[in-house]
Amino acid sequence: MLIIKDLHASVEGKEILRGINLTINAGEVHAIMGPNGSGKSTLANVLAGNTNYEVTKGEVTFNGKDLLEMSADVRAKEGLFLSFQYPVEIPGVSMINFLKTAVNESRKYHQLKELSAGDFLKVMREKKELVQIDSQLTNRSVNEGFSGGEKKKNEIFQMAMLEPKLAILDETDSGLDIDALRIVANGVNLLKKPENATIVVTHYQRLLDYIVPDHVHVLYKGQIVKSAGKELVLELEEKGYDWIKKELGE
């Protein structure tokens, strides 16, 4: 589904990603872990098409198409979803209007009929239950005045509405208490399908107790320095990232 080859990217002239190689198949959950500043969020943003990051080298194919050629909105319509680490507030734009536009833009892109207001509200009701999001929130402006936990729930709710092929969860656990974490993880698990894939970006293991990864990668100084199965999570938790650094001879 996603093939990343020798991806290099920089921000304001500073190279952050220094040759990422990664292949993700449908049905898989990949965890990308690593200490702060290792480039995890950069990778998530580069894949989503944030123009603040400049790709200097490498290629990425998404379902056989050149991902880097696409603008951010086309990537989204092709089925790539990013759950933001820090979701932004958009005052005055109601959540309903925002989501309806997003859903229908995607449907138009795939030459499907736009959802009527009634159908849309019906789908919304179903998905709301999935992440146990308060109805009040969807009546407010996008993320405006939401608590940290509400914002994260709202991200997963949007994911449920948009049904992406590839979801990238960027530090979705940060700012969540244990109950919210469980709800969010549960939502992600319910949305899992054999034809979809998930990338979980995190530097704690706790989210991975709930969303169990098939593959775990450690990102360090812009490169994947170790890949293994889910047992790596426990090892990291036990030994910390210093262990990786030592292994690398630092």
Binding site: A48, G49, N50, T51, N52, S71, A72, D73, R75, A76, K77, F81, L82, F84, P87, V88, I90, P91, G92, V93, S94, N97, F98, L99, T101, A102, E105, S106, Y109, S141, V142, Q158, L162
Partner: protein, 481 residues
């Protein structure tokens, strides 16, 4: 940052959507302004003596006045002798049915999406369409007449209701008020007249579409709305203008008078030709709009969405003379490319317990300049007056400017005046967030701007609100891409 700017430049680069010129035979008088021209205009319109006197007095006053230069505007020199002051569509007689109307004119309205008759009738809106200067068709007059409501062109009002015109014309905006108002008083060609009798609630939105059409013709509209005691009316004014290279002067005057417990809502969507991307051409919109809350408990609301004109100089104001009267000014002003706007309001509190609210939302893009200028004056005898002002500015890109000039004068101890102001920028992160959900940058900008302006747009009558939302989006298309 550069990315966003490129983006913004692209959306703002979009061409004006409603630019076209219709080819209609026009009966004009030669260029220039003199006492003779004023007399010709009055004579052509077969006006009574008092109108000629009104015009001449204004003209003589105008000769002694100068163009105001205090606004945050750069106005090229205007040669007032190079303007045609009167033009009327050649076919003077009024028509019984639409079949008799010049098809070119009808197609012009169609292009603008103005359904002059059936659609509007179904929508319950009476339209007094002003093409250049003379009213072409007035609908619904009879239905309204049954209620005693007068809704007609200004010329007709002068002919059929001279007493009302004589009593109220110039009561709120006198001929010596300012340079442009004096000019308007001297040469105004036509406009709309509304009178709502005592206790009558006007059952439909009254609307007028103005459109500048004859080449080189300044448009000097005159609107007079009188709401008698305990009456209510909602009036809509909307306009688009054809693509033009040379600048056109537009100096309209709108007067509103609300008597005891009367309520008047005046909504405007203004979309005159703003000039091209390089700032060439476009309308000069120098308008004087003022309402007088004459009676106790009277209410006047100004709601406006301004996206057009090369230069806008406009301050729809209210004089709160009656005790317990209420006034509101709700405005969205959008400037793009090289547009300049200096707009705002004046709230003059004279009566006791008077209340005014100002909500101004400025949006600047491209190389434009957008200023809010507002005055809140509370007279000594206006006890317990209240004002709340909120002035927000939204910037797109970093070549545009936003300015706020609030003036507050309070003459007593028990009045409360509040002023809040914010300036913000559309964030790159907001746009990316929308992009990531599959919403294109252009749609994202439209959505964010409409969200920002929602508070004001919600005050507009339904059909206008939809139009205004589209207009904001269209006006910014090309400013981000």
């Amino acid at each position: 940052m550069d990315n966003q700017n490129t983006l913004i430049n692209e959306v703002t680069d979009r061409d004006y959507r409603f630019g076209f010129v219709s080819d209609i035979a026009t009966d004009s008088i030669p260029k220039g302004l003199s006492e003779e021209v004023v007399r010709i205009i009055s004579a052509k319109k077969e006006e009574p003596e008092f109108m000629l006197e009104f015009r001449l007095k204004a003209y003589r006053k105008w000769l002694t006045m100068k163009m105001p230069d205090w606004a945050q505007l750069t106005i090229p020199e205007i040669d007032y002798q190079d303007i045609i002051y009167y033009a009327a569509p050649r076919q003077q007689p009024k028509y019984e049915s639409l079949d008799e109307v010049d098809p070119e004119l009808l197609s012009t309205f169609a292009k603008l999406g103005i359904p002059l008759e059936e659609q509007k009738m179904l929508a319950g809106v009476a339209v007094d369409a002003v093409m250049d200067s003379v009213s072409v068709k007035t609908t619904f007059k009879e239905n309204l007449a049954e209620l005693g409501i007068i809704f007609c062109s200004f010329s007709e009002a002068v002919k059929h209701h001279p007493d009302l015109v004589q009593k109220y014309l110039g009561m709120v905006v006198p001929p010596n008020d300012n340079f442009y108002a004096a000019l308007n008083c001297a040469v105004f060609s036509d406009g709309s007249f509304v009178y709502i009798p005592k206790g009558v609630r006007c059952p439909m939105e009254l609307s007028t579409y103005f459109r500048i059409n004859a080449k080189n013709t300044g448009q000097f509209e005159r609107t007079l709305i009188i709401a008698d005691s305990d009456s209510y009316v909602s009036y809509l004014e909307g306009c688009t203008a054809p693509m033009r290279d040379e600048n056109q002067l537009h100096a309209a005057v709108v007067e509103i008078i609300a008597l005891d417990r009367a309520e008047v809502k005046y909504s405007t969507v203004q979309n005159w030709y703003p000039g091209n991307k390089e700032g060439v051409g476009g309308i000069y919109n120098f308008v004087t709009k003022r309402g007088l809350c004459k009676g106790e408990y009277s209410k006047i609301y100004w709601n406006q969405v301004e996206t057009g004109s090369a230069i806008t100089w406009k301050y729809p104001s209210c004089i709160l003379a009656g005790d317990n009267s209420v006034a509101e000014f709700n405005s969205v002003a959008l400037t793009n490319n090289y547009q300049q706007a200096d707009t705002g309001t004046k709230m003059i509190h004279l009566g006791k317990n008077t209340k005014s609210t100002i909500v101004s939302k400025g949006i600047s893009a491209g190389h434009s300049s957008n200023s809010y200028r507002g005055l809140v004056r509370v007279a000594a005898k206006a006890e317990n007056a209240r004002n709340y002002s909120q002035c927000d500015s939204l910037l797109l890109g970093d070549h545009c400017g936003a300015h706020t000039f609030p003036y507050i004068e309070v003459g007593n101890q028990n009045s409360v005046v509040e002023h809040e102001a914010t300036t913000s920028k559309i964030g790159e992160d907001q746009i990316f967030y929308c992009n990531q959900r599959g919403i294109s940058t252009q749609d994202a900008i439209g959505m964010i701007v409409n969200g920002y302006a929602r508070e004001v747009i919600n005050k507009l009558p339904m059909e206008f609100a939809v139009e205004a939302q589209k207009l904001l989006q269209i006006s910014l298309e090309g400013s981000v891409g």
